[in-house]
Symmetry: C5
Subunit: 254 residues, 5 copies
């Protein structure tokens, strides 16, 4: 579970609604079905047109992960790789074949399979890097879906506002309608700017940053697998992988 994701999304919206109350407003003023149709419907259309189905589905999957997965534990990744390294040292790389079957991580699985098969070292590195670069493209695609939502929403909010103002202008002779009409038009602006800045852009940022942490973990795996295949000593492999750790505890352990 990702604490900052859960706190962040509620805290921002809560503060803004609280502010609205403190000003003497009420929730009802911010609930406008028409504005919602224009802003969220229009933005949804723009986003759907912008991306292939694959990216749209991936973005839903990553959105769930933003809330459900915690930070990557690099120490645990290194430990796992070290276990394989020690086993390979003692029992030979062929013994990793059974581990490959049980391994959950697709990159590590692919690497262990290739190493236990005795594949060519250059091929192994190429394959793992191709796979990682494809994963990177996929995750960035998901982040871009939210980013483009954050780009379209405020401008489509402007369309909503202008459409509202057009109606207002038809009733200029009736000053009592003027105020509430403009208020309706403004809600579209709030929907557009709010959904972009409180949800879409932060979500895109979080997906990207979580993906970056993941990539570091994957790089550790690739470095580890290649070192295992090269038959390097576990001590050496550990030293190499520990360079990925920044905090003092880890350095002290080394």
């Amino acid at each position: 579970m990702d604490l900052t994701s859960i706190i962040g999304i509620f805290f921002g919206i809560f503060c803004i609604l609280l502010g609205q109350m403190m000003e003497g407003g009420n929730m009802g003023q911010l609930m406008q079905v028409t504005a919602a149709f224009i802003v969220f419907g229009g933005t949804a259309g723009a986003v759907i047109l912008s991306f292939p189905m694959e990216d749209l589905l991936q973005s839903l999957k990553e959105t769930k992960l933003v809330f459900l997965t915690g930070p990557v534990n690099y120490e645990a990744v290194i430990e796992k790789v070290m276990n394989y390294a020690q086993k390979a040292r003692k029992e030979g790389v062929i013994s990793l074949e059974s581990d490959a079957k049980k391994e959950d991580d697709p990159l590590l699985k692919m690497g262990l399979e290739a190493v236990s098969d005795g594949a060519d070292p250059t091929l192994v590195r190429d394959m793992l890097e191709t796979f990682l670069s494809r994963m990177e493209t996929q995750k960035n695609g998901a982040a871009k879906v939210w980013e483009s939502f954050g780009g379209y929403a405020p401008t489509i909010g402007i369309i909503g506002a202008v459409l509202g103002l057009i109606q207002v202008m038809q009733n200029l002779s009736d000053p009592s309608k003027l105020g509430s009409g403009i208020a309706v038009a403004f809600v579209a602006t709030v929907y557009g700017v709010g959904s972009a800045n409180l949800i879409a852009i932060p979500m895109s940022s979080k997906i990207k940053l979580k993906a970056k942490q993941d990539f570091v973990a994957k790089e550790i795996m690739i470095e580890g697998i290649i070192a295992i295949q090269a038959g390097e000593s576990p001590t050496l492999i550990e030293r190499k992988l520990n360079a990925y750790l920044l905090d003092k505890k880890a350095n002290a352990e080394k």
Copy 2:
């Protein structure tokens, strides 16, 4: 046929028009020939000046493809390359000459020709990469045509709005004209922002993303052709190319 393209373009516009109705407006308010002339004519002029003829024509072609072509099937690409690989293994690379003639894909055709001719491996790679990079330039050119439409339209919408306001200001003494005059001016804003955000920018994004999928497919072909020429075993080639596949089914098959 690309489902997200077709749904996306209609859904966004539909929601906004629906919103307009729900607010008590009508379609007629949004139909302004003058505003259309200014915004779409001005934007068209800017786009035509911005690009060479070649890019403009390519962008029309790609726009059609955005709706007509579905997602790239990487498995099918790999299968096709594997067929060539197996044939080359059994009957020698010279046997690929007849396949080159029947092949539709220009990159694969060029590669098969060169391999069956016994061209130098470095030359083959250089040629294929030159061709791919030229294709990339061409597709990106097409995407940029729509991107620049999306950049010009909102600002030219502002010109339309300001021109409208100038007329409004001439009639300030006549309050009844004021409202409807401003309404006319606002329609130019809606045209500019709407055409940019509901059509042009999403179209540019979709063209770019479809091109990216294409490029991955082309990379698979290049990797495959080079491996075929190097005389690698079909099993090895398949393993190499499967690293481009991300979903579990494909990995399981491997």
Copy 3:
């Protein structure tokens, strides 16, 4: 002559003026000497301060070329290089000395000279690439002059508008002056946004894209010269250079 440049620049401005007429306005409303002084004078000052003299002059030169030169004919470039290749094959590279003197293109001239002199292959490639990269810098400089015009004009248009509004505010008590005063102020906005989006930014884009086509032609020349120097067979050179051609006719010929 570049058709899209000539059509583009007139079509956009024509549509906007037509729209102005259709709204019941007239040309006179858009002719404001004061606004022109502020917007075009201010923008000119900003552009002149931004660039060295060399870039400013180059940008005038490129602006002329935007209208006068048509698209690059890659086939013709390849044909020219192939003529040199065949001559070198038959009569030796020394025979290219006389061609170097007649050659118009500075890059090709430099390359032919160096090859006929028997210069070191690495030196030839380095020299040609240095020269190409310097040309690239120069052309991009010219494109950036128009790009920065397109960046300054709208904001200096805002200065014009605000200066106009300051005068308007002085006469608030006189409502008859209000409307026409604001109209004057708006013209500065139209000048700023219009000159940027109908002329400056498209011009910058066209210069850049024409330069890109030029660079591909120059790359073909460099590839060709280096292959000639390496003594490669004309058939091989032609195959290499044809990889730069994308359209089917060219591929069919190969």
Copy 4:
């Protein structure tokens, strides 16, 4: 202590408050609890959602350092490295083991340890560069937290303004409330634009630039350690490292 950080943050805010006074305004007008809730609460929510906990904490740490640490003294870094170089020359690299234990800088410590252990030169360079690139990611993460604050605050300020205007519009019939109501709405704009431009964006810029100076210092260390391991003469190492110094004094000393 960083003088420009301390002067900069107070000077900007002071000038703006002074201006407010000079216009006949007072501090009270700029103190609006409601606006603060909306702008700072909303922005805080967006920032918290955008980043992993790790980046948020790092950004607090770096913010402190912006004020507390002075400019990096490259001469001192070179001197320190030179001391190790001379010791290694005289007593052998093994003698650096005790220095590694006392060394504060984590990169230098890791390098000295590896060198005194007789680790492979390629491994040492890889480890140090991995560690540096990880540090870079971490520092940039901290800078991005402030940068995204600076991006969210002005737009959430617009939400605050629009929410305020909605209340104003409800009271249009009462002109006396109109003015002060709009004033309240404007304070949200000032909070958003002000906190972004006087604090958040400058802070992000300072963190990034201080990190860059740090990286140059780290590069000097890496170059030094690798030269020490390669057994280069102290004179040579000093010449190499002095190339990092730009000012005349340093060059004269050389």
Copy 5:
């Protein structure tokens, strides 16, 4: 002396002031101490907080150079390098030691010293490139100071405008104060947008472009020094360096 810098900065401001006069305004309307305090004081604070002292001082130095130094004369640079090349050819590289002492350019000085000392060629290239990259960082830092001024000023101009409007709103019941109050508020906008677009952004652009010309000159020096050290013939060196020249005269001379 740089002609475009001097003309550019005066011409832009002159045209805008002239426009202000032509509209019937006067200089006094644009002189507002309060607005100046807010906009320039606030912007100064933001800029000071954003940069280390070193960059701020460097930017003052470069600003002076924007007006005082003319364009780089590449021919003269090549000639100077050629003189050293010829001397080295005749009297040996050791003879360059005395020239190194007299040489003003720090990069050329460092290179000549190293060459006359018989330093390792790889070391010489590394040192010169390290020094050049450090110079690049320093000059870009100076350009970024003005760039960030140009970024902050318009938004802090908005703060000034909004603070002004707050005062205006307090006096809504008194229409005579309304107009002049708004006028005061607008001056802050003019200060912000004007100082950014007429001075700061152009200055940043000019510093960057002058630095780029400088870098080309430095690259010529580095190429030359390395060729001198490699003992290449003066004719060859001249041909190599002439590839940096684009204009016909230079090419004809070659």
